[in-house]
Amino acid sequence: MSAAVSPLEQMVVVLARDLADGELGAAGAAALVPMAAIALARELHAPNLTVGGEMFFNPLPGHLYPSMLDDRALGRCEAAETFIELFGHSHHGLDFFFHSGLQHDSYGNINLHHVGGTLDAPGMRGPGAANLSYCHTSTRFYVCPTVHTTRNFVEKVDFITIPGHLSGPEAKRAAGLKKEGPRFVVTPRAVMDFDPATLRMRLKSVHAGNTSEEVQRHTGFDLGIRGDVPQTPAPTEEELTVLRERIDKTGTLRA
């Protein structure tokens, strides 16, 4: 491949590989990376994957846009729905969804409301979030922020907007969160998953060009690193070619 793999391209490929043929899912609010991942999966191994649950079915964007809620980004799509159908999808759940926020913590909880202070007197007020249901009515979700620093990866979030694993299996059970919740956290530096016993986040693999020590240094909590951490499998020739030539035609993921 001519140009080096960008961190966002690596994220897209990791996420795309985990989406299966025949599933139903949607990209969420910060749609760039998830939308590319869904499109790549559909091109490569999941032609029967249905994009739905966000008021449109199976869009065919001409190229990647940062927001999916833009008629230009939809390009053409097969059908449109309204918030009434979204109310139903939110109860029935999807197979997968994507989230990211201002803060992410060691149990995969996500904060979009405030950093510092209280909700009524916030140090910094965030945007909030619309859909708080797909994170626990859907089979699973992915956390995919496009930055990874000690500022947005903190031991405990100031406010739980999107529940991940709360404070572990017991808290999750008590709150009635019955599905898998966050499966992977994919960032420009690494892939994290969750210890099945404690549901605490741990380092799974580091992307090419990063070391586990660096990833730990940019994370505000212990990633439970024991011994050597594998490298994230690099994109294949085919994955990169399809991604660049058919999905990200304008090179947004490399900008």
Binding site: D71, A80, D120
Partner: protein, 312 residues
């Protein structure tokens, strides 16, 4: 009965300024205003500007679950007391005046979620006392959300949530077309919650890109998204959604919104002159939509936004 005394059907076509005064007076009775569209798509921004110019105050603002520019502008002009919208963001950046006002305690931003807002509008539209919700778990939003209650499901016995009717005093919508009776046609890909809001509200005022002949509606009734029964006034406003999009007629104006957000960020750091000047040039000074179009950049500028929708 002769022709002179026979009542005739009343056209709902209204001038922008008259519609704004109608809304302002209604909102003085009860300040609940609801806005159609979503984020930067199909927002009734000309009606919002008209309302701000008419001098609305202490508004309680509702919307489809995601809003940005228009709500931020309303806050910048000091017209808002409470925000009942789950997500307030410009998507690529935060809403500067929303942030400032909430952090300073000048505006209350309630913690809500999409199902609460949609469910509340559903209860109102359907004429039932509440809408059950069974898909809210584990979020801190549930500790603060003022619109929901926990109830026992009468069938399963499970603890679930209920939201009462959200009944806006006034809803503003933007559609691409209407006839003079107020039958609306959204030509955009998605219609968001506009149909639900129309059925949930006391008063509905719609801006449209153009009024079409009656025959256009009669030839294709299934294309009508909001029947005139729900609509109180319809206003033909060229580029009435600007700087948000009105597909397929014109695209969102991201440059305009970004420049506005820069002024809002400057105001956050103490320099409010640029923001005040923006409000004067776009909200208070224009006497008509024609003035607004000139202030933004004129016909040539808007032709570019039209061309953008054909690119894809």
């Amino acid at each position: 009965m002769n022709d002179q005394t026979k009542p005739t059907r009343r056209s709902k076509v209204t001038r922008l300024q008259d519609a704004a005064h109608l809304a302002r007076d209604a909102l003085q009775e009860r300040p609940e205003l609801c806005l159609g569209g979503l984020f930067k798509q199909g927002r009734p921004v000309a009606l919002v500007r008209g309302l701000l110019a008419a001098g609305a105050k202490d508004l309680h603002v509702y919307s489809s679950p995601g809003a940005g520019y228009d709500v931020d502008l309303m806050i910048a002009t000091g017209a808002v007391e409470q925000v009942f919208i789950p997500g307030v963001t410009l998507e690529n950046r935060l809403c500067p005046n929303f942030r400032s006002a909430v952090e300073a305690g000048q505006v209350t931003a309630h913690a809500l979620d999409a199902l609460t807002v949609v469910g509340g509008l559903m209860a109102s539209a359907h004429g039932v006392p509440f809408q059950p919700i069974d898909a809210l778990r584990g979020s801190d939003v549930l500790k603060h959300n003022p619109l929901i209650r926990e109830i026992d499901c009468p069938f399963s016995g499970r603890r679930i949530h209920a939201v009462g009717p959200i009944r806006p005093r006034v809803t503003f919508l933007h559609a691409q077309e209407a006839d003079r009776w107020g039958n609306l046609r959204h030509l955009s890909t998605m219609v968001y919650a506009d149909q639900l809001m129309a059925r949930a509200s006391d008063m509905v005022i719609a801006s449209v890109d153009r009024i079409v002949p009656d025959e256009v509606i009669l030839d294709d009734p299934s294309r009508v998204t909001v029947p005139s029964h729900y609509v109180d006034a319809v206003v033909e406003v060229p580029y009435g959604a600007h700087p948000t999009a009105s597909f397929p007629h014109y695209a969102m104006d991201e440059d305009h919104i970004d420049a506005y957000a820069d002024l809002g960020d400057a105001a956050r750091t103490g320099d409010r002159a640029g923001l005040d000047d923006y409000i004067a040039r776009h909200v208070t000074r224009p006497k008509s939509q024609g003035d607004y179009i000139e202030a933004v950049g004129g016909a040539e500028y808007f032709a570019r936004l039209e061309a953008e929708t054909r690119k894809r």
